[in-house]
Amino acid sequence: MPAHAGDKVLFGFWVYLMSDVVLFASLFATHAVLQGQTFGAPSIAELANLPFVLWETLILLTSSFTVGLTVYFAAKKRKVQTFLALAATLALGAAFLSMELYEFAHLVKEGHGPWANASYSAFFTLVGTHGLHVFLGTVWGMLLVVQLMVWEAHATVARRLMCFSLFWHFLDVIWIFIFTFVYLFGALQV
């Protein structure tokens, strides 16, 4: 949310984020429709490891908390704490990505890749697109770490960190719906 009245950049970024929400909505709709179309194969939810997904969820959630801390410390101009909070966010993001990559690699190795049937295609597209967002966000975050360390233009870096935090929070919000509607619903065979 715009921290300063009239901050057009933050508002523009927020509008972009809302368009990204609509993108994910279309992927969710597609997944909902194609869920049962496994051509006889087990559903992804049947193949998934719930405790593993729970850890992914808690890791991403914690990173959403630490990015909040990042913005909090940036507003207070505490450079070291900002750096630490941002580093923690990125480390957790990387951990989430590793877990997800492992999950995908395992599914593909067992022959349950996105090309196997419509349901798997929808799953990999939805969860994969979210993962791609997390990856790009992590790259962006690393660039911000560099800017934080070498640059003195505090207001600009703080505003970019604010945009980054909005992006990161939004990714966790999307994940709430992924773990609920893809994994948990799937486990109930809804």
Partner: protein, 120 residues
């Protein structure tokens, strides 16, 4: 309420909702079902919406703009309308098509067989 308290409460509530959702499903899957699958679906949606709300307020500070009108809130509300129409509408239409509630000839008057194509 300070920003730090806001983030902390949001974080703790989100953890609680997440653990509750996973625990309920885990119970069900292990056979020790506390609720029927139908009730569980409602509960899970409720928990997801609750966590969404908590994260929107505590993390994204939705509605906290000082200036009026609250443009970011307005844009969010519009996006929400689009999402409801898109997801709800898609599921509604596809469900009806799947169940045969819609006579395909109403949508495809010429029939559903693909026209013969010439080989190049």
């Amino acid at each position: 309420m300070s920003t730090l308290q806001n983030y902390s409460i949001g974080f703790l509530l989100s953890i609680a909702f997440t653990l509750a959702a996973f625990w309920l499903v885990w119970q069900h899957v292990q056979g020790a079902a506390l609720f029927s699958a139908e009730k569980l679906v409602v509960l899970l949606v409720g928990l997801a919406v609750a966590q969404l709300y908590v994260q929107l307020i505590c993390f994204l500070h939705l509605g906290a703009e000082k200036q009026r009108p609250r443009w970011s809130l307005i844009i969010f509300a519009f996006a929400a309308v689009v999402v409801v129409v898109l997801v709800g509408g898609t599921i509604w239409i596809m469900y009806h098509l799947d169940r045969g509630h819609t006579d395909l000839s109403e949508i495809y008057p010429s029939g559903t067989v693909s026209p013969q194509t010439q080989d190049d």
